[in-house]
Amino acid sequence: MTELMTSGIELMMVGMGLVFLFLAMLVLAINLMSALVLRYFPDAPPATAAGRPAGGGKGVDAGVIAAIAAAVHQYRTRPK
């Protein structure tokens, strides 16, 4: 086997090892983080939805949409 292949195999083993190591540590970190957050900074469940009025401005329209859908429908199906 060429030297290049050897270093390729080494790279494969080290690389996959590091990928697993990194993502496994991320699993641990997430579990720890979630436990801490859920314990000390629990979101009020509805807060998640209501907490973002700006982006959610879209969501707010939801009520309006119904009204409009009706309006459009009425407008389109009016006798001509």
Binding site: T2, L4, M5, S7, G8, I9, L11, M12, V14, G15, M16, L18, V19, F20, F22, L23, A24, M25, L26, V27, A29, I30, N31, M33, S34, V37, L38, F41, P42, D43, P45, A47, T48, G51, R52, A54, G55
Partner: protein, 375 residues
């Protein structure tokens, strides 16, 4: 007469080389795939058009002073792929992953496609006429990450002359995920396994979604700084979206900015589709290795899921392992579709989104490793 001759000498018809003509056809083929076949049109359309433009004789769009020459700076500096990655980060919802973090391991396993095809590229050197250096092999292997910006970023750093072929292969195979993955997924799973129903994911709160990108960049900084540009911009985009206080920045990153950069990136990548670089044995090797990388990554993800089921009492449906290659959200949809075939009440989509976005992180991590170890 003399004048007419000089006019004729200035036409493309007179100056065109066979290679340029072929590469323009390749460009038209990419446009056909993008428009008619729906192959990742957002990228392959500008790439195909860039290929046509850069192979027009005389025009010199690729030469110093030409349009594509200037646009290519955005790739050379890494700016374009990193900005796209930021936009992708802003579009990514880590909720499903945070609800079931162990699916990160599926995203890790699927990166085996990268390293196996790296080895494959080196092995291909026994074919006469092929000569892949370690850098070339690493750049090709990243196709297995199934993630466009990551592939372009790594290729631009390690093997710029192969960039065109690598980007085309990466996006093409991403579009082919619904064809490549199912047979492998079926072959490696039993009907019973495909029927496994997973327990519903808990709702993940806003705080966890805000902390996650910070955790991600923190861990990257401490352990794998060479992945910091990719992971960092991805985490920045994700944070902008998750935090909810800079929605106007997040929206711009997800829309206008990513659109502008996509046009520029596509054209620049297309400018690397020159005859000298593309019409080579190497390109065939790249296409073969890319397909292998996708297939191996898919298999590794599925097998990892089966392995995890041996050690855990909460079972995962092995189909979602295939989503670990990323190709967001196509691979997750494929897993969902196959799940429904075996069990019409089994909606795997949200479960598959976990490994799917894990695959994006996984390949960015793998990219960092390659950039760090291959010099």
């Amino acid at each position: 007469m003399d004048n007419l001759l000089s006019l004729w000498h200035s036409t493309g018809l007179y100056n065109i080389t066979g290679g340029q003509a072929l590469m323009m056809l390749v460009g038209f083929l990419l446009l056909f795939l993008a428009i008619k076949k729906g192959f990742e049109p957002l990228l392959l359309l500008p790439i195909g058009f860039g290929a046509i433009l850069s192979n027009i004789p005389v025009a010199g769009l690729n030469d110093e002073g030409g349009l594509l020459y200037y646009l290519y700076f955005g790739i050379k500096t890494g700016l374009f792929p990193l900005l796209i990655f930021m936009g992708v980060g802003a579009m990514t919802d880590f909720g499903p992953l945070l609800a079931n973090p162990k699916t990160l391991l599926l995203g890790a396993a699927a990166q085996f496609g990268i390293f196996a095809s790296l080895l494959g590229a080196l092995a291909l050197n026994i074919v006469p006429g092929l000569e892949f250096t370690l850098k070339d092999a690493a750049a090709i292997a990243i196709i297995g990450g199934a993630d466009g910006p990551t592939a372009i970023y790594v290729a631009s750093r390690l093997s710029p002359e192969l960039l065109g072929a690598i980007a085309v292969a990466a996006y093409s195979y991403m579009a082919l995920v619904p064809l490549i993955q199912p047979p492998i997924m079926r072959a490696l799973t039993t009907e019973a396994e495909r029927r496994i129903e997973m327990q519903q994911l808990r709702t993940v709160g806003r705080s966890e979604k805000i902390v996650f990108p910070l955790l991600l960049i923190g861990l990257t900084a401490l352990l794998l700084p060479s992945a910091a540009p990719l992971v960092g911009m991805f985490a920045l985009g994700n944070l902008m979206n998750a935090c909810g206080v800079v929605d106007r920045l997040s929206q711009t990153a997800q829309n206008e900015l990513i659109n502008i950069v996509t046009i520029f990136l596509g054209l620049s990548v297309g400018s690397k589709l020159s005859a000298e670089a593309f019409l080579q044995m190497e390109t065939l090797g790249i296409l073969a290795l890319g397909a292998a990388a996708f297939a191996i990554g898919t298999a590794a993800g599925v097998l990892m899921a089966k392995l995890m089921n041996k050690f855990s009492k909460t079972l995962v449906n092995p189909l979602i392992g295939a989503a670990g290659v990323s190709a967001v959200p196509m691979a997750a949809r494929v897993a969902n579709k196959l799940g429904l075939e075996s069990n019409p009440h089994n909606f795997l989509l949200m479960h598959a989104m976990g490994p799917n976005v894990a695959g994006v992180i996984g390949s960015a991590v793998a990219a960092g490793i390659l950039l760090s170890l291959v010099q």
